[in-house]
Structure formats: structure tokens, C-alpha cells
């Protein structure tokens, strides 16, 4: 089933710094909720392992993430596919945009994803809420990394 989410966060940091941290595997690893490992690959991407809980379904997702349409330091598209074993799979992408604003940098994102397997069967009603919560958590962590709290 399909999941869509859009949102934005204003970060008290320079756009160039935000962009750098958005491309820093160590920062991403620290910010992605439940992330256990994240390594760069040769093709502008990462291989990640993250533990995710969605209602009654708890799973460790292994996934490959690729960055494309890179327009430094303004935007990129992050797309990937994660397998959570019997919990199912998630695949999709997000367009991430940065824009300098008075308070620092505005980051906006536009997510489109498909989920399947147990995630869809049991978690269908919860997916949007959980995804929003994870996004909020990510940006709270990310704001700390770039210094300060999100506005």
C-alpha cells in the first residue's frame, strides 16, 4: 500500500553545513531512528540496517539507498528499498530540498513509499502515523547535529 508524507523543518544552521551533514553517513546514522549501521557505497548511496517498530510488527530492515538528482547544496532525491524479512518490505523515495531562510535553513521533504507484507497487512492503518513520528524524530536528532533545535 502506498504511503505519502510531506513536511518541513527549519534548522538554525547555514545551508552549506546542512547540506554537508545530509551527506555525512555518520550524521545520518546517528539521526535515523533505530539505525544500526550505515555505510557508503560507490554509487552515491548507502547500505543501512535499521530496526523499526510498526504497531505489532517489529523488524530489522536492511536496505540500499541511492542518492540521485543531486543539486548541491539545494536538493537531492533519496530512494531505496528495504527488506524486513517476514515483516515485509518498504521501497520508495523522498525529494529533499534546502532553502536559506532568515532563521537558518528550511529543509522540506516529499516522501512517496510502498509497503508490503506484514507491514501492510497489520500496520496499514498505522503507517502514516509511524512514518510521521520517525520523521519528527529524525529532524529532532538532525537539528541537534547541526546545532540547536528545529524551529
Amino acid at each position: 500500500m502506498a504511503m505519502t508524507m510531506t513536511g518541513e523543518a527549519v534548522l538554525p544552521a547555514l545551508q552549506a553545513d546542512v547540506w554537508a551533514k545530509l551527506n555525512d553517513p555518520a550524521v545520518l546514522k546517528a539521526c535515523i531512528p533505530g539505525c544500526q549501521s550505515l555505510e557508503t557505497t560507490e554509487d552515491n548511496g548507502f547500505v543501512a540496517v535499521a530496526k523499526v517498530k510498526l504497531g505489532p510488527v517489529s523488524a530489522t530492515f536492511k536496505g540500499k539507498v541511492v542518492l540521485s538528482d543531486i543539486d548541491a547544496p539545494n536538493s537531492y532525491k533519496i530512494s531505496g528499498e528495504g527488506e524486513g524479512g517476514v515483516a515485509g518490505f518498504a521501497k520508495g523515495g523522498a525529494v529533499v530540498r534546502l532553502e536559506t531562510v532568515a532563521e537558518g535553513t528550511k529543509l522540506s521533504y516529499d516522501v512517496e513509499a510502498q509497503i508490503g507484507g506484514k507491514l501492510a497487512q497489520l500496520g496499514g492503518r498505522l503507517i502514516n502515523g509511524v512514518a510521521k513520528k520517525m520523521a519528527d524524530e529524525f529532524f529532532a536528532n538532525f537539528a541537534k547535529e547541526v546545532g540547536g533545535t528545529p524551529a
Binding site: G85, G117, A120, L122
Partner: protein
């Protein structure tokens, strides 16, 4: 009628063990050294398996074996079969794609079986399933049945390049077209019969056990027909020859059709038991039941009915697309064909009928028989059609039906069936009276004063039960005969064991079958044990489905009882030193006519076994007889259900206010059990009409895979039912029984939808008629009323 004989409302013997937790279900059974199986299922609706890596799973804690489709192929284990051959209009056989118990290179629905892990504990098996790595190449799934056969659609099975299993028809096309040419009024309707998930209370389970000393297998499984399971597993799948395979179906917690079929899981468990040298147990969880139990219904239909100027039906033509899912399940092919089209004449005298049915593959779970199987779909079509036709022609729906009722029997319909008997007008009369139809208008006005929309809906259903004469179904493509067997063993003390091929999984056979014996032999039901569900005890049987246990299973018992009584008379004649012709048997006593000399049934039984009074050359000792009964026709239960309901246009909530059910089941063995069957059937039918609906998203994910999203009926969704009975005994079996197991589920959906459309004043409402759907429709009606 004796206290426990035919017609007595005896409490169910089996209920004590069920309600005290003493039932023995498959999952309650544990074998020494037992291992546990967990299946890896596809999360994708349609994909090829590029690589299947089981190496990490094999090394996981507690894992004994990880088996795949490749192992099945190496052992020459055959695929699952569909046992009913349907031929298309052009004479070509249906296109049955192969159905391996574990995928071989391709998965075709979410939940499809890929591999099995067998481990010391269930937790270890489940953990190891996570360690199997599959590299899928995703294929575009085919989900929407309406467009599945379009050119350019992805191909699910290579043997069916357009995803069409068959393009079948029945009836006289020319005669039907001629009827339409003469019509004064034609009613046209598009009808969807929503997809259902059976949801038996007990999920499916299996234990495979292999005895290397005897080179013999035992399979414990949740089956409605253990002998058919053994036959298929032996003759087609090739697990073991029948004398080396024992199938036991112990207590089974509901089936509704979903446990007729032979599935991948039990096939794998019994095969794997020999491979690992230990018993292998699998118990499905509720998610697996949602995903991989065969679903039911799922038709898209366009129907047209032709009438003369008075409203007499001249002809009916029906075009149906039936979703059969990703694979052909055991009996799936016959459900939308021979269990559907021959029922489209309903209770009506329709001179010409022509039906076309396309069976279609989609990347969804297999679809097969579910309570009623084809007959609810047919009844929904014909009962919606007559209701709408009556409204369009400005006629009272009850009067319109009555005008078109078949009134003389036997009646040959234009679509195979020959109804032996019935009195449809009598059921209608009683139903109208019980429902207080004449004051409906007043109740409607009273509701309107409260701002509520009240509607009334009829369903005059017929079903074909007691399936069925073997020669007839054989000529229509069935791979098996549909007789039933019975053996009556009288013990020396006069107690009786009846071995039957009719499996009981909620129907109450242990009570009703014992009542028949009680009635015939004049002994109490506590003197009778009903033995079923074990292929080592019962020689053969065809199982329980299609409301056949009474009409066919009990008829076999009746035949065997006739033989027992005939033999006992001979024994009694010796024991009483009288001539056999003078022996009378009544109320459990054998007596010599015109004398006071008599023996009780138990005393004669003892005489049969001690054999002191006769020579073994004249009469064989013992008292045990068997019989096979093959019916000469289907049976045709019928009835009229009337649903009266109230809709709150502000919330869309539908409340069923009254339910009248008048059924003609022929002779009834136990009215209390029959009433229970009617209640349960109506509940399932109301569930289909108002609450239940399986839904796959465009990618083939089942999004109604839990009770959060798939709504089952509950007691508070239902009113008290007013049950009435009319009786025309079936003329084609010795007991005059027609069958009652599916009636409610067949009758209910059109009664509800006819009532809702009556309340709303227009015909467009799909099942399930959820509050949201009803609210939208109600708003439309209100706007229309306001405009007028």
C-alpha cells in the same frame, strides 16, 4: 417421536466437550519428537525468484531442515490439483497452471509459499525464516479482475496467456435472445459479489508423522474431508499410496468450505516428516489464514431479465467474471460454473436462460467454495433482478415473485436442474404473515417521523444441496463421485457405533446421526457413538460440504440400519424360535406377531454374537452392516427471508430491525440444530452484506488482513430471528431431508441489499454496505427527494 428420535430438539452431545475445553483439535495433538514448521511467504504479489539463499537459515539455532520447491521437485512430489475439469465454449479444457506446494521460480500472490523451516521450536523456525534471503525480480501484478484479460496484461501462468482459465457457458442462447426480442420490459443490472475471507474460528493446522518401521505416514489435519485429502495426497501429489497414508481430522473448529481443500502446508508437513525423520507440526496464525486460506465469492456480473407486459419473466441472460485467484484451488473451477449457473432459475419459471462465465487468474489468494459456494452468488443475482424488475414495473415485490413462482413439480429448469418438490407460495404466505408485511407502510411512516429511512427486502432463495449424484457430477467434469458411506457396528451389549464419511466440524452430527439410530433401533442416543474423521477407522467417505451430510450421509446410515434390522430379525427369529416372517420390530423390541414373546434390541445383539441359537452355516454371527448411498438428484431446499431495517441518514448506520426466515428443508431431524444453522448462516450473510470485504491494493497487498480492517459480524449487529418452517419432504432420498447448512448465507445478502435499496429509493449500493457507503447513498436520495 421418541425423546431422542427424529424430530426431537435434543441438545448437542458434543457441546459438553467443546464448552469445557475438552475438544481435541489438531493443535492440541503433540507427537513424540515433534518439530515445528514455519513458512516463508511471498511479500510480493508477482515476482520471479532470481536467487533463494537458505545457507544462513540452515545454520540458525535449532534448525533441522530448510526445504524449498527444488527439494519437492527432486522428490517428485506433485503439485496441488484442481479436481473439476471445466471446458470452455470452444471445447478446450480449462487452463490450469502448475501449483507447486513451495514456489518453483515464481511467486503469484502475497502469502504464496516459498520455503519451509523445520526447527526444534516454533520460535526457532520463525527466527530462521528471517534468515532466508530471496532476490526477487518484481513483475507487474494483475489485481483488477475487470481488466485482467486485457491484451498487454502481465501473464500469471504461461498456460493462460490472457489470464483466462475458461470461457464457459450454459443454457440456450438462441431461445434466450428470442425471449428478449419479445420482451415488453427489460431489467438490467451490474452486480458485484464481494470477496470474502472465511475466518473459521480454528486456523488451519497439520502434523505430518512418518513411521519408518511401517513405512507409513499419518497426517493430522483440519479437514472437512479426510478421505478426499488422502486420495489427493496419494493419487495426485504422490506422497504415499493410500494404504500407507492415514489422515486424521480430529475436532475441527469450523470450516465453511475453507477446509475442504488440500493446501500446501499439509502437503509439506507430511512430506517433510519423512525427510527429517520426525513429526512436523504447523499451526497457521491468523495472518496466514487471511492471506492463504482460499477466499470466497468475488464475481462481477451483468444481468438482464426480460418480462412480458404483465411481469411474467420470459428470459434471463447473465455474464459473469469470476476471480479464481493466482492458482486453481481444489474445487474452485466448479464453484462459479456448475454450482452457480444452474441455480439462476431460482424459484421462478423462466423459460429461457443463458449464462456465460469467465474464470480469471489474478495475483490474489486462490478463491474456492465458501458457505453456499456459487449458490449465494446466483441467488444474489436473481433476487436482485426480480426485486428491481418488480420496482421498475410498479409491482409489489412479493406479488411479482409469486406470479413467477414455479407451481408444479417436478420442474425442469432450462439450466440442468430438475426440482423434485417444493411449495414456494406456502413459504411466502407464512413469511408475509410472520413479518406483518401488511403493516410495513405504517412502520415506514413511523420511522420517517423519527428521521429514519425504513426498508424491506425479500429473498426467495433456492439452493441445490446434498451434492450429488456421482454419475451426474462425473458427466459435468468432477474428478470424484459424491456418494457417502456408512457402517453400523452393533456391539454385543446393544450399543452402536456408526462410522461415517461425513465429517463434523460444527454441524452436530454426533447428535443428529445418533438421533436417526435412536429412532430406528429404539435405543437412547447415549447408546450410540458417531465415529468420523479417521481414514483408518472409516473405510471411505466424501466428506462434509454442500449441505450434504443429512441428505447423503444420513441416507447411507439409513440404508445400513435397514440391513442391520433385517439381519437382527433373522437372529431374533432363531432366538425366539419363530419364523422370520412373524418377527416384528418396533420401539426397540423384536416380537413374535400375535404373542407376548419378545426380545429387546440389546438381547438380540448379544444373541447375534454368542451365536448359540443358530448354526454359522445358516446365518453368519455378528451384527455389522455397511452401505454406500449415491443420491439420484440434488435436493432443493428453499425459502423466503424478509429483512426489515432502518437507516439513519445522518450517520449511514443500518440497523436490522426484523428478520423473518421461512425455510423448507424437507424433513428435520433436530429442529434446534437446524435453527442454529439458520442463525449462523444469516449472520454470515449479513456479514457479507454489511461488513465484510477483502481488499487488495493496486500492488496486490492484502490490506484487510486483520480484524482491524476485516469486519466480522457480531451478535450486536444482528436482530432476533423469527424462524418459520414449511415442509415438503425431499422425494429423492429415504429420509426426505433437503439440507440446511448454507441456507442462511445464501438467503441473507439479497434480503439486506433489497431492504437497503428499498429504504434509499435507488439501486446503487455495493456490498459491504458500510455506514460510509450507505451515508453517501442516503445523501444522494435525500437530495433527490428535496429536488422533487
Amino acid at each position: 417421536m421418541s425423546a431422542t428420535g427424529i424430530g426431537a430438539p435434543v441438545r448437542r452431545k458434543e457441546d459438553f466437550r467443546f464448552i469445557t475445553g475438552k475438544g481435541q483439535y489438531t493443535d492440541d495433538i503433540n507427537r513424540p519428537g515433534q518439530t515445528h514448521a514455519a513458512f516463508l511467504r511471498s511479500p510480493h504479489a508477482h515476482a520471479t525468484i532470481k536467487k533463494l539463499d537458505i545457507s544462513e537459515a540452515q545454520k540458525a539455532d535449532g534448525v533441522i531442515a530448510v526445504l524449498t520447491g527444488e527439494d519437492l521437485a527432486k522428490d517428485n512430489v506433485g503439485g496441488l490439483i484442481c479436481g473439476w475439469m471445466i471446458h470452455s465454449k470452444d471445447g478446450s479444457p480449462m487452463k490450469a497452471g502448475s501449483h507447486p506446494a513451495l514456489a518453483q521460480g515464481k511467486v503469484r500472490y502475497v502469502g504464496d509459499h516459498i520455503a519451509v523451516v523445520i526447527a526444534e521450536t516454533l520460535a526457532q523456525a520463525r527466527d530462521a525464516v528471517e534468515k532466508i534471503h530471496v532476490d526477487y525480480e518484481l513483475l507487474k501484478p494483475v489485481i483488477d479482475m475487470a481488466h485482467a484479460t486485457d491484451s498487454g496484461s502481465p501473464v500469471i501462468h504461461d498456460v493462460a496467456p490472457h489470464n483466462q482459465v475458461y470461457d464457459w457457458h450454459l443454457g440456450d442462447k438462441g431461445a434466450t435472445e428470442a425471449a428478449f426480442a419479445n420482451a415488453k420490459h427489460v431489467t438490467k443490472l451490474d452486480i458485484v459479489n464481494n470477496r470474502l475471507i472465511p475466518n473459521a474460528m480454528e486456523p488451519r493446522a497439520a502434523i505430518g508423522d512418518y513411521d519408518s518401521g511401517q513405512d507409513a505416514f499419518t497426517l493430522y489435519t483440519t479437514s472437512q474431508n479426510p478421505h478426499v485429502a488422502r486420495l489427493v495426497l496419494s493419487a495426485f501429489i504422490g506422497i504415499a499410496p493410500e494404504h500407507k497414508l492415514r489422515v486424521i481430522a480430529p475436532d475441527v473448529g469450523g470450516g465453511f468450505g475453507s477446509k475442504i481443500f488440500i493446501y500446501a502446508e499439509e502437503t509439506v508437513c507430511v512430506w517433510a516428516a519423512k525427510k527429517v525423520g520426525r513429526p512436523v507440526k504447523w499451526t497457521g496464525d491468523r495472518t496466514e489464514a487471511f492471506l492463504a486460506d482460499a477466499h470466497g465469492r468475488d464475481h462481477i456480473t451483468h444481468a438482464e431479465m426480460a418480462m412480458d407486459d404483465k411481469g411474467h419473466i420470459l428470459g434471463l441472460r447473465v455474464k459473469t467474471k469470476a476471480n479464481l485467484g493466482a492458482y486453481l484451488s481444489t474445487f474452485s473451477s466448479c464453484v462459479p460454473t456448475y454450482l452457480y449457473a444452474p441455480l439462476l432459475s431460482g424459484q421462478y419459471n423462466i423459460p429461457a436462460i443463458y449464462v456465460e462465465v469467465e474464470g480469471i487468474y489474478t495475483n490474489t489468494a486462490p478463491v474456492d467454495a465458501y458457505r453456499g459456494a456459487g449458490r449465494p452468488e446466483a441467488t444474489f443475482v436473481i433476487e436482485r433482478m426480480v426485486e428491481v424488475a418488480a420496482r421498475e414495473m410498479g409491482q409489489d415485490p412479493a406479488a411479482f415473485r409469486r406470479k413467477n413462482f414455479i407451481k408444479s413439480f417436478p420442474h425442469q429448469t432450462p439450466v440442468i436442474m430438475a426440482y423434485d418438490t417444493g411449495n414456494y407460495g406456502a413459504s411466502m404466505d407464512l413469511a408475509l404473515e410472520m413479518a406483518d408485511y401488511k403493516n410495513f407502510g405504517k412502520r415506514k411512516r413511523d420511522s420517517a417521523k423519527k428521521g429514519m429511512l425504513r426498508g424491506i427486502g425479500f429473498s426467495a432463495y433456492i439452493e441445490a444441496c446434498g451434492i450429488a449424484p456421482s454419475a451426474a457430477v462425473g458427466s459435468l467434469g468432477a474428478g470424484v463421485g459424491l456418494w457417502e458411506s456408512a457402517e453400523v457396528r452393533v456391539n454385543p451389549v446393544g450399543t452402536v457405533e456408526v462410522l461415517t464419511g461425513s465429517h463434523s466440524h460444527g454441524q452436530g452430527h454426533e447428535t443428529t446421526f445418533a438421533q436417526l439410530v435412536s429412532d430406528r433401533l429404539g435405543i437412547g442416543i447415549d447408546q450410540v457413538a458417531i465415529v468420523h474423521g479417521d481414514t483408518d477407522k472409516v473405510q471411505f467417505g466424501m466428506g462434509t460440504y454442500g449441505s450434504r451430510s443429512g441428505a447423503v450421509g444420513m441416507s447411507a446410515i439409513s440404508k445400513a440400519l435397514d440391513k442391520v434390522v433385517a439381519k437382527a430379525k433373522k437372529v431374533a427369529a432363531y432366538a425366539l424360535e419363530a419364523s422370520e416372517g412373524d418377527i416384528e420390530f418396533k420401539d426397540g423390541r423384536f416380537s413374535v406377531a400375535g404373542t407376548d414373546r419378545s426380545l429387546a434390541f440389546g438381547e438380540v445383539a448379544l444373541q447375534a454374537y454368542i451365536a448359540h441359537k443358530f448354526s454359522g452355516q445358516d446365518l453368519e454371527p455378528g451384527l455389522k452392516e455397511g452401505a454406500f448411498y449415491d443420491p439420484t438428484n440434488f435436493t432443493f431446499p428453499s425459502g423466503v427471508h424478509i429483512c426489515e431495517l432502518e437507516i439513519d441518514p445522518d450517520t449511514g448506520v443500518t440497523r436490522i430491525d426484523r428478520w423473518t426466515a421461512v425455510d423448507d428443508f424437507g424433513n428435520i431431524i433436530n429442529p434446534m440444530i437446524v435453527e442454529g444453522q439458520v442463525h449462523g448462516g444469516i449472520a454470515q450473510g449479513v456479514g457479507q452484506a454489511l461488513l465484510e470485504g477483502a481488499h487488495y491494493d493496486a500492488n496486490g497487498q492484502l490490506v484487510t488482513a486483520s480484524y482491524m480492517d476485516y469486519c466480522m459480524p457480531r451478535a450486536d449487529d444482528l436482530p432476533n430471528f423469527d424462524i418459520g418452517i414449511t415442509t415438503t419432504p425431499c422425494t429423492t432420498n429415504p429420509l426426505g431431508i433437503k439440507g440446511c447448512g448454507e441456507a442462511g448465507a445464501i438467503a441473507a445478502p439479497p434480503a439486506v441489499i433489497n431492504a437497503i435499496t428499498d429504504a434509499l429509493g435507488h439501486e446503487q449500493i455495493a456490498m459491504p454496505a458500510s455506514p460510509q457507503a450507505v451515508w453517501r447513498a442516503a445523501q444522494k436520495s435525500l437530495h433527490k427527494l428535496a429536488a422533487e
